[in-house]
Amino acid sequence: MKDILLDINGLTKAYPGVVANNNVSFQILCGEVHALLGENGAGKSTLVKMIYGLVKPDSGSMTFQDQQFMPASPNAARGTGVAMVFQHFSLFDALSVAENIALGMDDAPKSRDLAKNIRQVSNAYGLPLEPNRIVGTLSAGERQRVEIIRCLLQNPKLLIMDEPTSVLTPQEVEVLFKTLRQLKSEGTSILYISHKLEEIRALCDTATILRHGEKVDTCIPATTTAREMAEMMVGASFANPIKANREMGDTILSLKNVSASSAEAFGTSLQGISLDLKEGEILGIGGVAGNGQDELLATLSGEMTVASDMIILDGQAIGKQGPTARRKIGLLSAPEERLGHAAAPAMSLRENTVITAAERKSLLNNGFIDWTAADQYTQDIIADFDVRTLGTHTPAGSLSGGNLQKFVVGREVLQNPKVFVVNQPTWGVDAAAAASIRQKLLDLADNGAGVIVISQDLDELLEISNRFCAINEGRLSKIVPTATLEMDQIGLMMGGATAEQEGADA
C-alpha cells in the first residue's frame, strides 16, 4: 500500500444558489495518477481551486503528507508542493517564455540562470522550449509546455492538470503522456481532470467521479469501460448516435480553390481550399485550434466574402453573397463561440431566434417582427432539442453551455438547411447532450442535407462523419472516407501532410 499524499475530507463549498461541492472526500496516493471525472458543472474546477488555494472551502479539511493543509493562496499551495497546469488563461501572450515562467515562481532566479534551467528541464522531459520566444507566437502544444515547465521547475509533489489534452494533436498527447509517466515514475502524484475517457483509461490509476458537486463513485479506469464511466458521470444510460447507411445525392456544395486572408490580427489565412459536399453527407474537418477553422466557417457563412465562383451552392455562384442572402437559399451555419457570435448573451432566446431564422421561417411581417410566430418557433426548438430553460424570454447568456449549444444548433437545423456548417458542435457540452446533438446532425443528413462539422474532437468526427479531412495552417488535407482511417494517418493530416506530400511519399 502506497502512502497517502493528499487526504481530502468532507470539502463543501456553496455559492449563492448552487452547492458546487458537497462533502467531497477522497485520497491521492504518492506516485499515483488520479483522474477527476465529471460533466461540466459537476464541481471539478471548484474542487481543484480549493486544493490550489484559489477558493476557500466552507467546511471540511485536507491533510498533505499528514500535515494540516488549507492553503490561503496559490503561493502557499506552491510552497507546500502543489502545482497546477490551467486549462485557460494563465499565460501572458505579450511576454516571453522565460518571463511567463518567472511569474509562476516564488523565488525566480536571475534571467540568465532561469533560461538555462528552462532549457535543461525542458530537454530532460522531452518538451523542448526556447526561453526567449514571445508566448503569443507559440502553438497550443508549445504553450502548454510552458505551463508544465513552469510547474516542474518547482519540483512539485502533486501536479494538477485541468483538461490538458483538449488542444493537442494525437502525437502531442503521446509526448505529454510520456512526460507524465516519467513524472509518475519519479514519485510525483498527478491529479488529472478530463472528460476524454479513453485517455483516462490509458493513463490513470484511479478515478473519482463527481456529479452535481458530490462524489458518486470511484473506479479503476483500466478495468472499466469508457461507457460505464460515462454513465457514472451522467447518472443514467443514454443512447449512442446511430449512423444509418444512407444514400448520397448529388453534389450540393463546392469550394473551388478558396483563398482568403483573415480579418483578425493573429488569424490564419485560407489557402487554396477545395472540397465537394454531397446531399446526405457529413464531412468532418479536424485540426488543432487556430489553423483556419474560424476563417473557414466565416467564408462559408458569408461573414467573409470571396470571389463569386469560389463557392457554388446547388449550381449557383455565391462567393460574394453575405450571410442573409446565403441563409435565404439554404446555407446555414453555427459558429464556435456560443456567446457573442452564435447568440447575443443579453437578448432573449426568442430574439436570438429572430436574428437567424427571420427569413426562412417567415418571422417578418412587412418588415415588422411577428412575435407570435417567433415565440412558436422558439418553443419548437426548445421542445425538439430538449433545451432546459425557463421559457422563451430567458436571456441566452443565462443558459448553461450545453443547453445554449442545443438551442444554437436546433435553431439552424429546424430551418431545414440544404447545407449546414457547424464549428465545435459539442465543445464544453456534457456527454448526454453531446450524444443528442450528434444524433440530430445525423438525422439532418438522413433527410438529405449536406453537413460540414468542424471539430477538434476526433472521436466525434469519426463517429458521425462519412469523410474526413484536417485543416492545418489554412490548408486542407486530402479528404478520405472515415471507414478506412487510422489514428496515425489522422495525426499526420493534422500535422500538415497535404494531399501532394502524401502523394509524393506513396
Partner: protein
C-alpha cells in the same frame, strides 16, 4: 545664428521646460495603463496638483515643498478613482472623466484667493562644468531640478518595467489579470499603487506649470495638457522613452509656434496654435502605424475575482 528671429539654443532650452509637465503626466499614466487601468482623470489630477502646489509654495515660500504636496494631492485624488474603479467596479472611462471635472471644480474653488499672486519659483541648477560648455551647456545643463527629475523618472520607469520583477508583475497584471490572479498576484493592490503613482506624477506635472512655467495661478491653467499627455501615452505605444520624444516634440512645436507668432509670420494665429496638437499626433501616429503594438491586453477591462 537666428532664423526668423528665433535662437535655436533658446528654443531647445525652452522646449524642455515647456514639455516637462506633459512628460511627467504621461510617464505616470504609462505606468497606470501598463497595469491595465485607463485613467482619463489626468487633467483633473494635474490641475489639483497645480493649485495645491501653488498654495503651499506661496505660504511656505518654498517651491520644493510645493512640489511634494502637489504630488501628495494628485495621489490622494487618484485614490478616489482607484476606489471607485477597483473596489466598486465602476466604469473606468466615466469615472476618469468625472475625476477631471471634480479636479477642475475643486481647483477653481481653492485657487480663488490666490489669483494674481506670483509664486516663488525653482532656481536653475547650472550644473558645474557641464553648464559651461558652449551652446550645449545653455541648452541642456542649466535648467531647474524638476526637468532632470522628470527625465530621471522616465529612466526609472523604463528600467523598472524592463528589468525588475516588480515591473514584470505590473506588466503581467495589465496583460492578463485573470492569469495573474490565478498565479496568486494581488491584482487590485498592484493596480491601486500604479494609479497612485500616476496621480503623484500628474500632480508634479501640474505644479510645474503653476510654479515654474507661468508662475502664477489662473483657473483652468493646465489648458488640456492632461489630454495631450493621454494621447502621447497611446501613440508612444506605452514605451517610456518614446513618451519623452512625444512630450518634447509637443513642447518644441508649442515653443516654436509661440516664437513664430512673436516674429509676425504671415500664418493665421489659429493655425499656429493648433499646430502642436496636429503635428504631435500626426508624427506619433506614423511612428505607431505598424499596428497595435504594446497595448496592455487587459487595458480598461474591469477585473472581477471569480471567487
Amino acid at each position: 545664428m537666428d532664423f526668423l528671429g528665433i535662437n535655436p539654443v533658446l528654443l531647445i532650452a525652452s522646449l524642455m521646460v515647456s514639455a516637462t509637465p506633459i512628460l511627467l503626466a504621461a510617464i505616470g499614466e504609462t505606468v497606470v495603463e501598463k497595469s491595465g487601468v485607463l485613467n482619463l482623470g489626468v487633467e483633473g489630477m494635474m490641475i489639483v496638483g497645480a493649485v495645491v502646489g501653488f498654495i503651499t509654495a506661496v505660504n511656505t515660500e518654498n517651491p520644493a515643498i510645493g512640489f511634494v504636496t502637489a504630488a501628495i494631492a494628485g495621489a490622494l485624488l487618484s485614490t478616489i478613482f482607484a476606489t471607485l474603479v477597483l473596489h466598486l467596479k465602476s466604469n473606468q472611462v466615466a469615472t476618469g472623466l468625472g475625476l477631471t471635472l471634480v479636479g477642475l471644480g475643486i481647483s477653481a474653488l481653492l485657487g480663488k484667493p490666490y489669483e494674481g499672486i506670483k509664486s516663488p519659483t525653482l532656481q536653475s541648477l547650472d550644473i558645474p562644468i557641464l553648464a559651461d560648455i558652449p551652446i550645449f551647456g545653455r541648452m541642456l545643463f542649466s535648467h531647474d531640478a524638476m526637468v532632470y527629475v522628470s527625465i530621471l523618472i522616465v529612466g526609472l520607469v523604463w528600467y523598472t518595467l524592463k528589468y525588475t520583477r516588480a515591473g514584470l508583475v505590473l506588466r503581467a497584471v495589465g496583460e492578463n489579470h485573470d492569469a495573474a490572479h490565478a498565479l496568486g498576484y494581488k491584482v487590485i493592490r498592484i493596480r491601486f499603487l500604479a494609479i497612485m503613482f500616476g496621480g503623484a506624477c500628474s500632480g508634479l506635472g501640474g505644479a510645474y506649470i503653476s510654479l515654474v512655467r507661468v508662475p502664477q495661478w489662473t483657473e483652468g491653467m493646465t489648458a488640456g495638457a492632461g489630454w495631450i499627455a493621454l494621447a502621447i501615452v497611446v501613440f508612444a505605444s506605452w514605451k517610456p522613452w518614446r513618451t519623452l520624444i512625444g512630450a518634447y516634440l509637443f513642447g518644441g512645436i508649442t515653443v516654436l509656434q509661440l516664437n513664430l507668432q512673436a516674429a509676425g509670420v504671415a500664418i493665421p494665429v489659429e493655425y499656429l496654435s493648433m499646430s502642436p496638437f496636429l503635428i504631435t499626433i500626426a508624427v506619433l501616429v506614423i511612428i505607431s502605424a505598424r499596428g497595435n503594438q504594446g497595448a496592455p491586453a487587459s487595458l480598461g477591462r474591469p477585473f472581477h475575482a471569480s471567487n
